[in-house]
Amino acid sequence: MSAIIQVKNLSKSYWRNSLEIPVLHDITLDVEEGEFLALMGPSGSGKTTLLNLIAGIDRPTNGEVIVAGTNIAKLKESALAKWRASNVGFVFQFYNLIPVLTAYENVELPLLLTKLSKAERRKHVEATLNIVGLGDRMSHYPKQLSGGQEQRVAIARAIVTDPVILVADEPTGDLDRKAAEEILTLIDRLNKEFKKTIIVVTHDPHAAEKASRKLHLDKGDLV
């Protein structure tokens, strides 16, 4: 297996007025293709920041993030947006579905940026919603779904474009135990059955059990 994600000497600091707040210090790690990695650590350890940098929704202060051969730290904003659209699927803790769109329309959103026809988009969306077990909830709005169902729609939205990597930030953090278990099983299935490279941020040891590798962050350092 080869490293699909290479993080080299990655540092990130935020600035509050003139005060520099370092969040990540000189992080270096590789993620193999098809790997299921769990990033763990206490609140404020920098795990979400690392995830954001790998997913290309934040910029590093120093260092490189190379995903499938592309150094995303050097991409301009518009190029980075295009890169995200075709390479990254993102699952959030609070689902972040668009409330005025149905489950079908939420999953279809990323496909609007592709050249697929309406019929092709429908085929993809239906197939993906069937994978997450919501084939019968396509016309439901987010408020008509349970938390677990919403998260499954969010996962369907993240994988509908068949991205290179799937990143998830506390995907079970807002769910009850049963729903959380279903989501973890689904993510595990995506890794094992569909060979997706997955990085999950969690501070829940139970959630991390499904991962093939666990990394711990503490105060911005890998430990």
Partner: protein
């Protein structure tokens, strides 16, 4: 799903807020249209004037008469082709609220005013009959008057009962030609004045002077006024346009205020729509972060926000514009009859209303777009509205 569907759904997310905003735009556009129509119509009488016509009046005010004997003298001035004496008759036709211009004029009036179209037959019939009158087509329509009908005026400036017979109905040549005038023979007025009030006979309020070359209007005006210098009734001659402007100048401040107010209303509604859009965009900060994460570009977000703003503005503006026509018509009905010689929405008013609508939609979106684009994705996710 098309992006337009998302724009539409976003616009309807807060139905009450969107409805109130649309209602605000609708009312603003109606008010704008109505005010602009009044302003435009007010000034259209100036636009309807001809460059080859001068007006000679008493130098103090046109309410003081001039001797009828001036007519021949004015006609003798080189460059003057026709002179038509006119007196404001006023009077009451049926009801005091029935307002339209009633003038005693010389018989060559329709030659001096070629934009008042009168058939040859009607012109001849009018000239033949002493108490004949000619009315504008709008007056004929408004009061259901036909050729041969009687019109009785109760005189006020010239007291008495004045009976006329309609012998002609003139048509306006242009859209802004006044079709609400009633004119009758100066001789008819003069003969009765000689009998009842001799001191007021053989006088007119003003002369309409037709000239051959509009470029010589200043020179001819000076020549006319010079002829009557140091007389008991000195004259002031000016272009018809200047005369009309002077006539309406008394209302100038109000009209200017209405003009400003019409644009002020658009400014206010711009703030209302901008406020709605800012609130909407602020509430959707996290959603915009989601869109960016999914790969939607700055252009996409701009389209979403601008589209929503334009949609709201265009719905409100469209309804407003559609309602302006019947409301302007209703306003005209509510005014005393004939208060405005003509009352219609000028194309420029429609163009201005459409432009204002589009501008409101566009400008309202600028700040929300700027905010949505400048907010970093990670900051968007952290945002708590």
């Amino acid at each position: 799903m098309k992006v337009f569907k998302l724009i539409f759904k976003n616009a309807l997310r807060h139905k009450l807020r969107t409805s109130l905003t649309i209602l605000g735009i609708t009312i603003a556009i109606i008010a704008f249209g109505l005010l602009r129509t009044v302003v435009t119509i007010w000034y259209s009488s100036v636009d309807a004037t001809m460059a080859n016509r001068l007006v000679t009046r008493q130098s103090v005010s046109f309410i003081f008469p001039l001797p009828y004997a001036y007519k021949e003298k004015i006609l003798s001035v080189p460059g003057v082709t026709r002179v038509c004496g006119a007196s404001w008759f006023q009077g009451v036709y049926k009801d005091k609220n029935n307002f339209f211009a009633r003038l005693a004029v010389d018989d060559n009036m329709f030659e001096v005013y070629p934009e008042f179209l009168l058939s040859k037959e009607e012109s001849e019939n009018y000239k033949k009959q002493r108490n004949a009158c000619v009315i504008g087509s709008q007056i004929a329509k408004q009061y259901n008057l036909k050729i041969g009908d009687q019109m009785v005026l109760d005189g006020d400036i010239f007291p008495g009962r004045w009976e006329f017979e309609v012998r002609g109905i003139y048509q306006p040549k242009n859209k802004n030609t006044d079709a609400t005038q009633m004119v009758f023979h100066m001789d008819y007025l003069n003969e009765r004045l000689k009998e009842q009030s001799p001191s007021r006979a053989d006088q007119v309020f003003w002369y309409m002077v037709q000239i051959g070359d509009p470029n010589r209007s200043a020179q001819i005006s000076n020549q006319i006024d010079a002829m009557f210098k140091n007389s008991t009734a000195e004259t002031k001659t000016e272009t018809e346009k200047a005369f009309t402007q002077g006539f309406i100048s008394a209302s100038g401040a109000i009209i200017t205020a209405m003009n400003w107010m019409s644009f002020l209303i658009i400014g206010i509604i711009l703030l209302v729509v901008a406020n709605t859009m800012i609130m909407s965009a602020r509430e959707r900060t996290r959603e915009y972060a989601v869109f960016k994460t999914l790969g939607f570009s700055a252009l996409h977000l701009t389209g979403l926000i601008l589209g929503e703003s334009m949609l709201i503005a265009c719905i409100g503006g469209g309804i407003g514009l559609a309602l302006t026509f019947p409301l302007v018509s209703g306003f005209e009905q509510a005014m005393p009859k004939g208060f405005f010689p003509f009352f219609f929405i000028e194309p420029i008013t429609v163009v201005l209303a459409v432009t204002a609508t589009l501008l409101v939609g566009f400008l309202s979106a600028i700040f929300p777009i700027q905010r949505a684009l400048s907010t970093k994705i990670v900051d968007g996710f952290r945002f708590v509205g």
